[in-house]
Amino acid sequence: MAQQDSSPFSDIGLTLGMLLLRIWLSIRAIQTGLEKFAGSAAGTKSVTIDGAPNDYGLTEATSSKVYAISNYQGVPGPLYEKFSNEPLIPSWSLDIYNVVLGPSLLLLGFTLLLGICTRASLFAMGLLYTSLTFGLILIKQDAGVAWLGIHIIMIVIALVLAKYNRLVITNKF
């Protein structure tokens, strides 16, 4: 009769798998949340002629990406416009959603990455992606719905593997 491996490394594959899922899902949420604070800063730079800045003051436009609270937009403009025409999305709820979406993604991303209430974080993240799915269904963005569906599958797998969760601050909830 085969003896069951009871060493601490017996579940190492499942533990690493869970860790990878946490990292992927958290980075996905954090960076998506951060991008909602991204904007562009226009500037100018001197035109180079013969390898040196020109003497006439001729310039060319430059544009660089910057992050700022003032740039924040939870729901991107074109989507916001489409959602605002949807009768099933009241304007007050769209406004609230627009405000909380970015901070929610950041918060859930960090709790998942640091291992704070992992199951609750995963579940909340799943609900958030489901809410996004609801909006995309209304405006018939089928590719986006499928893409979020993949996220939900990954979250479900993470919940299944939650008992192998290591490197956490708290494993409660």
């Binding site: 100018t44 035109v47 006439y56 003051g57 310039t59």
Partner: protein
């Protein structure tokens, strides 16, 4: 010692200048700003729309203190005072009479910006120069060539700076195109033809109306300041107010569209060619705005003798259409064409398909002097007859633009000149050398005869 200036009306000024009298030189120039660390104290005479353009172009420049402002319309004056206060937290002193402002403030001012109607440019400029201030005066220098000459004389007499608002002269794109592409590298070859235009739609050419007529100056004020000039009968308040808002339509108050819009561009013809024209022929008409005194559409042709040979320049100012590409000046050489405009979007450079200096163009692209935009592409189509058509030119562009308001470099040049850090790019003398031929376009159009310029026509 500060000389007290009288309150001067335009009629007074013209009467005095006609006999060679002027205002006495006054203020102590020893107190004036001379280096970049010193604040330049400026005043404004005229607070209308063009003043707003100038103010917006200088508002971000450091080292300026706005001392005083003057306009005969109280609401405009309040606007200027408010703009200064909201931006800088202090209020300039305000006046309704330029003479009074100069009398009280000249000792505290380094420079005056004049953006009044054309017929007041010369009196105000001479008054300010005589009071000891440097002057930035909007173009056209004056509604008459005699008025413009008094400005040059006053500049020479007082030794003060007098910049005329041909702002393209300080525009980096124009300076670069002239110095590097036309003069130094001669990419266009000999310039044989020039074409320029300012086409403005009917919607932009209508009479100006003011929503709150009660805020306009009253008849007595407008008469005092010469808005009844040239009228055969006594004008009522409504007529005077129309003249106040629409002085550009009256022959006694302005030079009309050819000086209002054409002055900028014909100045570029003369600046780029470096010579004055030999003659002008012109045609104009009150073709749409039949009640206006000036021609609403004017076309003219100047002939030049340049060091490279004979050249001619066609210019049109149309106030009944915007078709035809807006406003630009096009210098057509045998090897290429520079189509340049204050608007970067209207600026293009073309190389002739058979240009003998093709290698030079490509070398300049490689060194960053030019950008290549597109290879010339034949339009094709079944209606094309190959034997009739030249191969299309390749399209190039200037290597850059500039991101400031169009008037800012010209004002920067004026301020730097006051501080002895630069030389004026368009002082009154050079401006008049270039503007003088423009004064003869309307007479040529009226007489339907070619005017061959003599020293009498063009002297400064």
């Amino acid at each position: 010692m500060q000389q007290i200036l009288p309150t001067l009306t335009r009629r007074d000024f013209l009467a005095k200048s006609a006999v060679g009298a002027g205002l006495a030189v006054g203020s102590p120039s020893i107190l004036k700003a001379k280096d970049s660390s010193q604040e330049i104290r400026v005043g404004f005479i005229g607070c209308g729309k063009q003043h707003e353009v100038l103010f917006n172009a200088m508002v971000n420049l450091p080292g300026i203190r706005y001392v005083a402002a003057c306009d005969i319309m109280r609401e405009r004056l309040k606007g200027t005072v408010g703009r200064v206060r909201s931006r800088f937290g202090y209020m300039p002193n305000h006046y309704s009479d330029a003479g009074e402002m100069l009398e009280k403030e000249a000792k505290n001012m380094d420079a005056v910006f004049i953006s009044t109607p054309d017929f007041w440019h010369a009196p105000h400029t001479v008054m300010a120069l005589e009071a000891g201030c440097h002057v930035y005066c909007e173009k056209m220098m004056s509604d008459t060539i005699e008025g413009a000459r008094t400005m040059v004389a006053a500049m020479d007499r007082t030794g003060k700076l007098c910049q005329i608002g041909h702002q393209r002269r300080s525009n980096p794109r124009y300076k670069y195109a002239l110095n590097e592409l036309i003069q130094k590298n001669k990419i266009l070859g000999p310039i044989i033809n020039i074409n320029g235009q300012w086409n403005r739609a009917l919607a932009s050419s209508q009479d100006i109306v003011y929503g709150k007529p009660d805020n306009l100056p009253n008849a007595a004020t407008l008469s005092k300041y010469g808005f009844d000039a040239g009228a055969e009968n006594k004008l009522n308040e409504e007529e005077l107010r129309h003249r106040f808002l629409n002085w550009r339509f009256y022959t006694s108050l302005s030079g009309g569209p050819i000086s209002d819009l054409g002055a900028h561009q014909i100045d570029i013809f003369n600046w780029f060619l470096g010579v004055q024209p030999k003659s002008v022929m012109a045609s104009g008409g009150r073709s749409y705005f039949k009640e206006r005194e000036h021609f609403d559409n004017v076309m003219c042709v100047f002939d030049y003798d340049t060091p490279e040979g004979n050249a001619r320049a066609f210019y049109q100012v149309l106030t009944t259409t915007s078709a035809g590409g807006g406003y630009y000046e096009s210098f057509m050489g045998t090897q290429g064409t520079l189509e340049i405009s204050e608007r970067e979007a209207y600026t293009n450079i073309y190389k002739e398909s058979g240009a003998e200096n093709s290698a030079l163009w490509e070398k300049l692209v490689a060194r960053g002097y030019l950008k290549k935009d597109a290879v010339g592409k034949a339009a094709g189509g079944s209606d094309a007859i190959a034997a009739y058509e030249s191969a299309p030119p390749d399209k190039y562009a200037l290597p850059g633009g500039f991101s400031k308001p169009p008037h800012q470099p010209h004002i920067e040049n004026f301020l730097a000149s006051i501080r002895d850090e630069a030389k004026l790019t368009c002082d009154a003398r050079h401006a008049l050398e270039s503007e003088a031929p423009i004064y003869w376009v309307n007479p040529a159009a009226k007489s339907r005869e070619t005017i061959h310029f003599t020293e009498e026509h063009l002297h400064v």
